[in-house]
């Protein structure tokens, strides 16, 4: 194992400096090896301090990779975090993960080991096989191999491991409304937030770093702002903001999406920096959902590395990362540095390195003539600067050993003259800055190329969205401060704040003389890209300059197609370091400008977020509401098994002891048919309908007539869509002349109420009627069976329950168990039944009274399964089970419930008269009797004609919708939708089953019990 070359602990930690806390050493393990860092370290800075060069193997070519950046743009140092099976977190960027004591991490791209990689031996071969476009070329055929290939690639290339146990952490969401939201707490964002806040509007300031300040903090800048060192100004400004009551600051918070109408989502890492065992029981991460009146994006810019041969060797850094590691973390990740740059930023790395007492071998500046403060300072410090030079190739195996240097022409397209090698172990490059335009582009706005900034900047947004600071391509500190103040005031004014300009002055700062940057993306090599050593553009996906050029040669000219062909920008880093370099290479190859070539589409998320944060607290018992009736406790006490009906929990059956479901259902059926059963029917939708036009309205939405239904009577109705298909059914009672009580199916309650409302509100507002849901107000219990009248009589003495006085389909108001009740004499079982409705706060009381009084009759509670069997014995349909949205009332043989002679063309009338609805050979609801009465057909079984050849395609003639064993009929029974079924009573058809049985059944009228309806009318 040669991961840590320096056995001395933290050999690369500088003696002084940095913001780390040297009094707090933190132990951690990387690939099983124990190491120590300090509080304030990221995992990346701690690994570098311990001399770790290789942090992974590349995706396709299995090349060793090292840490390249110090932030969210890191493509290589993507680790697996976690010490136990349940706490595994894949895809953690070491540059963003704060170190804590006991942290366990490992590289993911090395299988079986990062340093000696078995795949690495095959790497070059595998690399050739998986050339550009391998997603399409290599795996297009055979499709069935895809899963196998994917498994191999995942294991070999290491895209991280999912936890195999439930996540013990919790997550939650929080909603915010604010006047001004500022994304990014760098100099521009701080100024914008403070300028807006001072006008009195509400401000929400968010930054993904644990500290504010952006680059000022990362680079520990000592430039003077308002006379104090920039890092102190940052802290003062942040304190000022945090003390204001109208300001909320969220640090450690990644804004991952900027959605329509200024709705932004942001994930706050509340406890990721704390050792798991010390975490609070509260959420690990919180997803903030933010609605802002005005949004200010001060998202800054990310430094672009230059592309050169072997630029993926460990030891190659982006210039700004060198500054951050040296000055913030007091880590010099090497001894001898070569800088290659096209702008002034490279000099800052050289100076930091030099001031840390390390050797700067040379600064190679692609610009022919260089001047300005950065150049002067470097020269003064004695750092060798070579203007007009570039480094076009790095050499080494697991670490940079040397670089090849040469003169470059003024267009930066060709290396001139002789080349020489410079020995070094660290390389820093800067190709300029790419503004972070992602959030500004999430709602569809395309970024615009700004030549003066050599970067894409946000385009004009349709939303109330502002930008300031580096994201606009203006990188000078003075500009960032000034545009920040100005933008904050503009946004506050848009919120209605007055006198905004007076509220705050622009902080003063010195401005050094800068030297204009030059455009440089791919450093030219002596060889063509296809012959030169690999020049990586997207390090995470191993996309090389040669691969991009191959794509353009193969005819891919649209940047979106190049992206998909090469996988450029597809990694978890979303191409933050590589995209613009890739675009520039495509543009150059096609002879177009970068603006013409355009960018790919930026979509949420800006960076990966955990599924846990997305789910929030909506997991486990809170995943979906569970709805309960007022009798739930009693059902639980009775040992009910429950069934989900929509969100409702309904008793399914009530097993006694270790009774099976079949046995329980048979017992419940028999008890109901012979004595009395009780069902909790509270979940049925109930709608109170009042108004002079209530009756007219019912006539329009039901297929049958309601004009003559007298107060005190109930009627069954079918509801159809405009297409003529049944979508709900139920019994509606006429409570009084202008007052009805409608019931709907349990699952259809909300839909039916909306159905009534939408017609009333949009088409028939002239009808004088009101609909109100009373589903939750009424508890409904049905007592059913020959003894139900006798049972009710024991608890109700103010209703004449005799058959003459209280007939079938009548309802009465009265008192049941001392509670005011509406009792409906309706039946879904075919037995004498009473449906008792009482206010839900009395539901448990009345249920208990019925159970107590029912003991004398052996009262038996039954669930939905028994209800289904009992109704099927009578041929009563269940909408949604025996219908599927393609069934008319005529198909159900329910023509008796359709009254086409009604004056108004009721909903469904025209639909069910369409040619297709009246044609012969439609599927129609019939009963089935299997030839072997003990065989119960499976629901969903497909019907075929007797004797048909069972070779595909087999003509299907229908299917079973409901099927049970019926105690009352002494045989199996079924309902089915069969072609032309109503004309085929007596025919025998066949059901070939999955287990190769073929069941024969006779088509019959779907009534298997009490054909003359004597029982329910008793």
């Amino acid at each position: 194992m040669a991961t840590a070359k320096h056995s001395k602990p933290q050999a690369r930690r500088l003696e002084t400096g940095g913001t780390i806390d040297r009094s707090q050493p933190l132990r951690f393990t990387y690939n099983g090896k124990a190491m120590v860092g300090y509080a304030g370290d990221t995992v990346a800075s701690a690994l570098l301090a311990n001399g770790v060069d290789v942090v992974g193997r590349s995706f396709k070519y299995a090349r060793p990779r090292g840490i390249m950046t110090a932030g969210i743009d890191e493509p290589n140092a993507v680790l697996q975090l976690g010490g136990t099976r349940s706490t595994q977190t894949p895809n953690v960027r070491a540059t963003e993960q704060m170190l804590y004591d006991g942290l366990v991490c490992s590289s993911v791209n090395g299988w079986p080991s990062t340093d000696f990689d078995a795949m690495g031996l095959l790497g070059k071969v595998g690399g050739e096989v998986m050339g550009p476009g391998f997603y399409y070329k290599t795996f297009m055929y055979p499709a069935s191999f895809w899963m196998t290939y994917e498994a191999v690639i995942r294991k070999a290339a290491g895209l991280g491991r999912s936890p195999t146990m439930p996540d013990p952490e919790t997550y939650d969401h929080m909603n915010h409304h604010t006047d001004v939201m500022v994304v990014g707490a760098g100099p521009a964002g701080l100024c914008a937030a403070l300028a807006a806040a001072k006008t009195g509007v509400d401000v929400l300031l968010v930054d993904l770093q644990p500290e504010a300040g952006g680059e000022l903090t990362a680079h520990q800048s000592d430039e003077l702002i308002d006379g104090v060192a920039a890092r102190d100004w940052v802290n003062q400004t942040l304190s000022t903001l945090q003390a204001l009551p109208n300001v909320t600051v969220l640090l450690n918070t990644l804004v991952n999406g900027c959605h329509d109408h200024n709705f932004l989502t942001a994930v706050q890492r509340l406890q990721d920096h704390i050792a798991p065992k010390q975490r609070q029981s509260t959420a690990r991460q919180r997803l903030h959902k933010i609605r802002a009146h005005q949004v200010i994006l001060a998202t800054g810019a990310l430094e672009r590395p230059l592309v050169f041969a072997n630029n993926d060797l460990p030891g190659c850094f982006v210039a700004g990362a060198i500054v951050t590691y040296v000055k913030r973390y007091a880590v010099a990740p090497g001894e001898r540095l070569v800088v290659c740059t096209s702008n002034d930023a490279g000099y800052e790395a050289a100076m930091a390195w030099h001031e840390a007492g390390k050797e700067v071998v040379a600064v190679l500046d692609a610009r022919e003539s260089v001047s300005g403060a950065a150049f002067d300072a470097a020269t003064r410090a004695g750092i060798p600067v070579l203007p007009g030079h570039v480094m076009f190739e790095a050499k080494g195996k697991k670490r940079v050993k040397a670089v090849c240097v040469g003169m470059v022409n003024s267009a930066n397209t060709m290396v001139l003259g002789s080349v020489k090698e410079l020995e070094c172990d660290t390389v820093a490059t800067s190709g300029g800055f790419s503004p972070v335009v992602h959030l500004a582009s999430h709602t569809g706005t395309r970024p615009v190329w700004k030549e003066s900034a050599l970067g894409f900047v946000p385009g004009d947004s349709a939303e109330a969205l502002h930008t300031c600071g580096s994201v606009t391509g203006e990188h000078k500190l003075r500009d960032c401060l000034a545009t920040g103040i100005n933008t904050g005031q503009t946004a506050a004014a848009a919120c209605g704040a007055e006198n905004t300009a007076a509220a705050m002055a622009v902080p003063t700062c010195e401005t050094a003389e800068v030297c204009d940057a030059e455009a440089l993306y791919l450093i030219p090599h002596k060889q063509t890209p296809t012959r030169a050593p690999k020049q990586f553009v997207d390090l995470q996906n191993d996309v090389t300059a040669a691969a991009i050029l191959t794509a353009t040669r193969e005819g891919f000219e649209n940047i979106e197609h190049v992206k998909r062909y090469t996988a450029l920008g597809f990694g978890t880093d979303q191409g933050k370091t590589g995209n613009v370099n890739g675009l520039a290479i495509v543009a150059h190859a096609l002879g177009k400008s970068i603006q013409e070539t355009g960018t790919t589409t930026f979509r949420p998320n800006y960076a990966p977020v955990s599924f846990g944060a997305v789910a929030g607290a909506h997991v486990g018992p809170l995943f979906d509401p569970k709805r309960f009736t007022a009798m739930q406790e009693q059902h639980v006490e009775l040992g009910a098994a429950f069934e989900d009906v929509g969100q409702w929990k309904r008793p399914w059956y009530f097993p006694q002891g270790d009774e099976t479901m079949d046995a329980a259902v048979r017992r419940e059926c028999e008890a109901t048919r012979t004595s009395v059963g009780i069902l909790d029917a509270s979940t049925l939708g109930k709608i109170d309908i009042q108004g002079p036009d209530a009756r007219e309205f019912l006539g329009r939405v039901y297929t049958n007539s309601w004009a003559k239904l007298a107060p005190g009577r109930c009627r069954y109705g079918l509801m159809c869509g405009e297409d003529g298909m049944v979508f709900d059914d139920g019994v509606t009672a006429c409570l009084a002349e202008n007052h009805f009580h409608m019931t709907t199916t349990t699952g259809g309650a909300a839909r039916v109420l909306n159905w009534l409302e939408i017609y009333h509100q949009t088409d028939w507002p002239e009808l004088d009627v009101f609909f109100n849901s009373v589903t939750d107000h009424w508890s409904t219990m049905t007592i059913s069976g020959p003894n139900s009248r006798a049972l009710l009589a024991t608890l109700c003495n103010d209703i004449d329950l005799s058959a003459d006085a209280f007939g079938f389909m009548d309802w009465k108001a009265g008192t049941v168990a001392n509670v005011p009740a509406r009792v409906f004499r309706i039946s879904f079982t075919g037995e004498l039944s009473f449906e008792i409705n009482v206010p839900a706060h009395y539901g448990a009381h009345v249920w208990a009274a019925l159970m107590e009084a029912g003991k004398a009759f052996g009262i038996t509670p039954y669930g939905t399964e028994t209800m289904h069997v009992l109704r099927a014995e009578k041929g009563f349909i269940i909408v949604g089970q025996d219908t599927d949205g393609s069934v008319t009332p005529m198909d159900l043989d329910h023509g008796w419930a359709v009254h086409p002679q009604k004056p108004f063309s009721f909903i469904g009338k025209r639909g069910m008269a369409r040619e297709d609805c009246v044609r012969p050979m439609r599927k129609q609801l019939v009963g089935l009797k299997t030839k072997d009465p003990s065989v119960v057909l499976p629901e969903g079984a497909q019907a075929v004609e007797l004797g048909v050849m069972l070779e595909p395609p087999v003509p299907m003639i229908g299917h079973v919708t409901s099927s049970y064993y019926s105690m009352a009929a002494g045989r199996s029974i079924a309902l089915a939708l069969i072609k032309d079924g109503l004309n085929r009573y007596g025919d025998t058809i066949a059901f070939p089953l999955l287990d190769d049985r073929i069941v024969h059944a006779e088509i019959c009228k779907p009534v298997f019990y009490d054909v003359n309806n004597d029982a329910q009318k008793a």
Partner: protein, 127 residues
């Protein structure tokens, strides 16, 4: 996630309080029985899917329970306005212009203006 002004509650509300109910201004024909199958099929099944402004019916399901109309751009998702059921709202002038521009650029068919006109006449018939 839209922010939608409910014309009944008279304030902006989060999209999750609402349900979209499809194209607005689809008056139920007054005499369905005398329509041909084709005419009825047209009413029943055919809906506009414009690129540009669209009139939609939305339901404030978690709030006041009322249905209302939303005039929305299906490209930018900008909501030009909302108005109560049974009412009508003209396109803001600048919106029409930008739409023509968009339609010309993208050679759209049908143009946004024909969409508007036919919707408008539909409303008059029903009132």
């Amino acid at each position: 996630m839209f922010l939608i002004y409910c014309p009944y509650c008279k304030e902006d509300r989060e999209e999750e309080e609402f349900h979209a109910s499809g194209q607005a201004h689809l008056p139920r024909p007054l005499d369905p029985d005398n329509m041909t199958d084709e005419q009825w099929g047209e009413y029943l099944n055919f809906r506009k899917n414009p690129r540009g402004t669209h009139r939609e019916l939305w339901h404030h399901s978690a709030g006041c329970g009322k249905y209302f109309n939303v005039l929305r751009d299906t490209v930018t998702y900008k909501i030009h306005g909302t108005y109560k059921a049974g009412e009508w709202m003209e396109l803001p002038d600048e919106v029409e212009e930008s739409l023509h521009a968009t339609a010309a650029n993208l050679a759209l068919e049908p143009t946004a203006s024909t969409v508007t006109e036919s919707s408008a006449s539909g409303t008059e018939e029903s009132s």
